[in-house]
């Protein structure tokens, strides 16, 4: 796994930006993935179809990429199954409580300079940095 990938990451970012732009320009909606996912888990009246179609696009797109570049799905960090489940619980609960994740707040919100999204993004970045500091440097990656 390569450590620093500025070119690939910039291209990836542009593709993500295009995905969000398509949703905005054609459907008039914010591509906030945690909210879309919630609308699939707990069927969202009137919006279930397009939300499911979006998640379908993620799954199919991910599947195609996995066929060609499975190495880009490497986990690379040592965590127990319990650790991953707890992480998922926190992400699922936290993104619903805070109304958004990296896509809704981080990409869509920041690009229109939403005050709530700026605060949310700074908060989840800081919390992520603190968590990695504690787990990797203080606890030695034991989880």
């Amino acid at each position: 796994m390569e450590h620093f990938t500025p070119l690939a990451s910039s291209i990836g970012g542009i593709l993500i930006g295009l995905g969000a732009a398509i949703m905005l320009v054609f459907n008039g909606r914010i591509a906030g993935i945690s909210g879309i996912f919630e609308g699939v888990v707990l069927p969202d009246e009137g919006a279930f179809d397009w939300k499911t179609a979006f998640v379908g696009g993620l799954l199919v797109g991910g599947g195609i990429m996995f066929v060609f570049v499975p190495e880009w799905f490497a986990v690379g960090i040592e965590r127990s199954m319990f650790g991953f489940i707890v992480a998922g619980l926190l992400v699922g609960f936290g993104t619903r409580l805070g109304n958004g994740c990296t896509s809704g707040h981080g990409v869509c919100g920041l690009s229109r300079m939403s005050r709530r999204s700026v605060v949310a993004t700074l908060t989840f970045m800081a919390a992520g940095i603190a968590t990695v500091y504690v787990t990797r440097h203080l606890m030695g990656g034991l989880l």
Binding site: L18, L42, L59, G83, S111
Partner: protein
């Protein structure tokens, strides 16, 4: 047509997340590891995405409606409350712990690795738990 657009948007997201390196939890954790061997790649992902989307947002402001709907559905709230900050903090802890955020986790689900399956299972549990919490503690 809206569903087709949503599907295509999902395809773009998936390819971008994979190419950008976001389906590799180690790259996320390395990005958040600012005091260690820092990997700034994720900043380039965010930069690229923001650049494109900011242009789209600017253009959209001169439009009265999107192509396939009668209105734009853009959040208008600007208040800061404990839910926003507390929720973002919990999300950040989970992100640093598991190295996945919702988009990359769903994109990587087809890889069927136990790590991502556990994470997405937890995410579903978290969404349901929030719904219950919202109903009991926040309904007023």
């Amino acid at each position: 047509m809206r569903n087709v657009i949503a599907f295509i948007s999902g395809l773009f997201f998936a390819s971008g997340l994979v190419v950008g390196g976001m389906t590799q939890p180690k790259k996320i954790v390395d990005f958040l590891d600012v005091t260690g061997n820092w990997d700034p790649s994720l900043a380039f992902v965010m930069g690229g995405a923001l650049l494109v989307n900011a242009v789209a947002y600017r253009w959209v402001q001169s439009q009265s409606q999107p192509f396939f709907d009668s209105d734009f559905y853009i959040p208008q709230r600007s208040d800061l409350d404990w839910k926003l900050i507390g929720g973002a903090a919990l999300f950040g802890i989970g992100w640093g712990l598991g190295g996945y955020c919702p988009g990359p986790a769903l994109t990587a689900v087809v890889s069927a690795q136990t790590s991502v399956l556990g994470f997405v299972g937890g995410m579903i549990g978290g969404v349901l738990l929030y719904k219950g919490f919202d109903r009991i503690a926040l309904s007023n």
